[in-house]
């Protein structure tokens, strides 16, 4: 190497060396200087993304595993404002109003507002069904449709800023079936009414926020966010559909204001069907405000109280028998009037029925007889039995917003001795249909009341937890329960009731109750008609309760509620595979 070139090499080496030193110095100063924290935060910010994992909401099945509430994909449609061109907002608003049903002006307003706030992304609409998104993806007929798995909403260049993000939303395949007990989920993911609200925490699961590294070298396993628990209900969807159909048919036939029906397994408390009117297509729950006007209860079976009328006489009679004051054969002379507490009690037809046994009193539903029996029971005992039967308290059924009913007792202000007389035949107190069903279950279960329930099993983390029947105490003795069951069977048969179903022995009681008015009197022309019964008597498999409110064709439960009960039972025995008594007994003997 010529010596005269040495300085060139040295100066070049010095130059690059200095550059290297400068780079090192700068790197050092960046990492230790005042801005170091800011740079560190920035690098940290871009090194990962915050992702919220929403577990799918738990599903709801009927007792046979048919899906009643599931999840389906819907889309959030947003706008990437960074790629939005000047003419695009109008095209987007037009497309969304034409295909998705959004309001044209509202979309323009959202976009203008987002632009003025320098946002980079804004949600134009949400919960859009896949069918509508498909229309957007093939919006421009001259271009091939956008790929299904693409985030781009449309194949039209003017709609290039539209972003479609899929997510799950609640869906109800059976539409309005069992809507009164299922409830619904709104767009804020909250359950409203029924099972959806009662089990909100269990069904919804817990969303989890996680940081996902953007550097693929630092990829981590995503945590397994447990989904919401699924529920298996005690409802049988076939029985539910049948009960709803028959109830609707009878409401129309009797021109009633509304109807309620409950079918329960009396041994286990499992509710096989429960419905009331009106009902709601749960996929279109926004209609709730138009359907449930004037504070209509969402589920009358547990949420509305009413004066039960004669159906309540079973409680009075059970108390008297349990105390040993009467037997079914005890004779009573009905004079057609009974004065008690300053009021006169009369029978439903205003007539005297003469000599009657207690069975006859129940069979003919005599107010005078039951009021006198109640007076012999005495106020203290009577209200003790009323309380023991669960009236005035929630039954504990696992449905949201259960009403407790109204029972005024002697130690409360506003109670008068006359109340005892009217309460004995179901006036002056208010109960829910569910309470009535639970009370009657005591006659079937040797005096023990079973707590009604609607959830049969919970499926959580791959395991199924089956729930057991629970009992709510024993208001009457086993012997009294058997006596009452026999009396209600005999009275139904002797009355030749329209509730009877050929081939099956049934027990039950009608209830016709006048409706109290706002001024404290009773409307003589309008009634609540109800019927509660069970069968087959020798091996009870169902309790059926029906209630028609303000029927117009007849004011008597024996004319309108009893046939409704019979129609339901006639179909129920087929769906539950219950052979007629004669065949069943022969089969059991063999």
């Amino acid at each position: 190497m010529p010596r005269e070139h040495t300085w060139r090499y040295l100066s070049t080496a010095l130059f690059f060396g200095l550059i290297g030193l400068l780079i090192f110095w700068r790197a050092y100063s960046v990492q230790t200087g005042d801005q170091a924290t800011a740079f560190l935060n920035q690098s940290e910010y871009f090194s990962r993304l915050l992702k919220t994992i929403y577990p799918p909401r738990g599903e709801i099945y009927d007792r046979n595993g048919n899906l009643l509430a599931g999840n389906r994909t819907v889309y959030e449609i947003g706008v990437d404002l960074a790629s939005l061109k000047e003419q695009d907002p109008k095209a987007i608003a037009l497309a969304l109003s034409a295909l998705v049903g959004s309001d044209y002006n509202r979309v323009l307003e959202i976009l203008a507002q987002a632009k003025s706030q320098n946002l980079i992304y804004v949600v134009a609409t949400d919960y859009v069904l896949p069918e509508k998104v498909d229309l957007l993806k093939s919006y421009n007929v001259n271009l091939p449709p956008e790929e299904d798995d693409s985030f781009l909403c449309s194949n039209d260049p003017a709609l290039a800023a539209l972003i479609c993000r899929p997510h799950l939303a609640r869906s109800y395949p059976e539409r309005d079936l069992a809507s009164n007990l299922l409830g619904f989920v709104t767009q804020d993911s909250n359950g409203n009414f029924g099972i959806e609200q009662q089990y909100q925490d269990l069904l919804a699961g817990q969303p989890e926020n996680i940081w996902v590294p953007t550097d693929p070298n630092r990829v981590q396993e995503l945590p397994q966010v447990p989904g919401g628990s699924s529920l298996v209900l005690t409802i049988d969807r076939q029985i539910q559909a049948m009960v709803e159909d028959i109830l609707d048919e009878h409401i129309e036939k009797t021109a009633s204001d509304s109807g309620t029906a409950i079918v329960m397994d009396p041994r286990t408390g499992e509710i096989l069907a429960m419905t009331s009117t009106p009902r709601l297509d749960l996929n279109d729950y926004q209609e709730y405000v138009n359907i449930f006007t004037d504070s209509k209860p969402y589920n009358r079976a547990v949420g509305q109280i009413y004066e039960p009328g004669s159906i309540f006489k079973v409680v009075t009679m059970a108390a008297a028998i349990d105390l040993g004051l009467v037997t079914p054969e005890t004779v009573y002379l009905d004079k057609g009037i009974f004065n008690f507490g300053g009021i006169s009690i009369r029978n439903w037809n205003g007539q005297a029925w003469g000599e009657q046994t207690m069975l006859g009193c129940l069979q003919h539903s005599l107010n005078v007889c039951l009021a006198e029996v109640g007076s012999r029971v005495g106020q203290e005992n009577f209200y003790r039995y009323v309380e023991a039967f669960g009236f005035g308290y929630p039954t504990g059924v696992d449905l949201f917003n259960e009403a407790t009913g109204t029972v005024r007792t002697p130690d409360e202000t506003g109670w008068y001795p006359a109340d005892l007389a009217t309460n004995t035949f179901g006036q002056g107190l208010a109960v829910t249909p569910m309470q009535m069903v639970m009370a009657v279950s005591a006659f079937i279960n040797d005096g023990k009341m079973v707590i009604p329930h609607i959830v049969k099993a919970v499926v959580q983390d791959g395991s199924q937890y089956n729930l057991s029947p629970q009992y709510a105490g024993q208001p009457i003795s086993e012997e009294t329960a058997h006596t009452m069951a026999q009396m209600l069977t005999d009275s139904l048969e002797m009355e030749s009731s329209k509730a009877l179903v050929p081939g099956y022995r049934l027990a039950g009681k009608t209830g016709t109750a006048q409706i109290p008015t706002d001024n404290g009197t009773y409307d003589l022309n309008q009634t609540n008609t109800s019927f509660v019964g069970w069968g087959p008597v020798d091996d009870p498999r169902f309790i059926v309760f029906v209630w028609l409110e303000r029927p117009e064709t007849s004011i008597w439960a024996s004319e309108v509620a009893a046939p409704l009960f019979a129609d339901i039972v006639e179909r129920l025995v087929v769906l539950m595979n219950i052979p007629p008594d004669a065949q069943r007994v022969v089969a059991q003997e063999n």
Binding site: L168, P216, V573
Partner: protein, 155 residues
């Protein structure tokens, strides 16, 4: 031997370019070694990054598939809903059965349809752990080395 050494020293003194070539040779060898390590590192890093990206894609696929499963379950339930099945039955000429039109047969020891759906094993059953990412995708080189040394140390 001594003579041979002297000859070599003399040769280098006579031709200093040989010494320079030797230095260049060492530097070149160092560069080649660094390049080899760098290439190996880049190769492994690139493969790890590709695998990581694949994992991310698969995680996304899992989420998509879970969503599709939910969709299909619900779609099937719509198709098999009571209303739909009743309509199909009616179209095929079926009518609801009345108790009078029904004949029951007694089948000895038949217990009837089991009551209640069993959607999952009863609580208390043991389950195998869910599939997890293999260690190759999550452990660093040092983790792997310490694991290896641990295994070797065990012998």
């Amino acid at each position: 031997m001594l003579k041979r050494s002297r000859e070599l020293i003399q040769a280098y003194q006579q031709a200093p370019w040989r010494r320079q070539m030797q230095v260049i040779g060492f530097i070149a060898a160092g560069l080649v070694a660094v390049s080899l390590v760098g290439a190996l590192y880049l190769n492994i890093t690139a493969r790890a990054a590709t695998a990581g990206r694949q994992v991310q894609n698969l995680q996304s696929d899992v989420a998509d598939l879970e969503q599709k499963i939910e969709d299909l379950k619900t779609e099937l339930a719509f198709i098999a809903s009571v209303e739909s099945m009743q309509q199909r039955a009616a179209d095929l000429g079926f009518k609801p059965l009345s108790p009078n039109a029904l004949t029951y047969l007694s089948v000895p020891e038949y217990q009837g349809r089991p009551s209640g759906a069993q959607l999952a094993p009863r609580a208390g059953a043991q389950f195998s752990a869910a599939a997890r990412l293999p260690a190759e995708y999550t452990q660093s080189l040092f983790d792997w080395l310490s694991q290896l040394l641990g295994v070797l140390g065990g012998f």
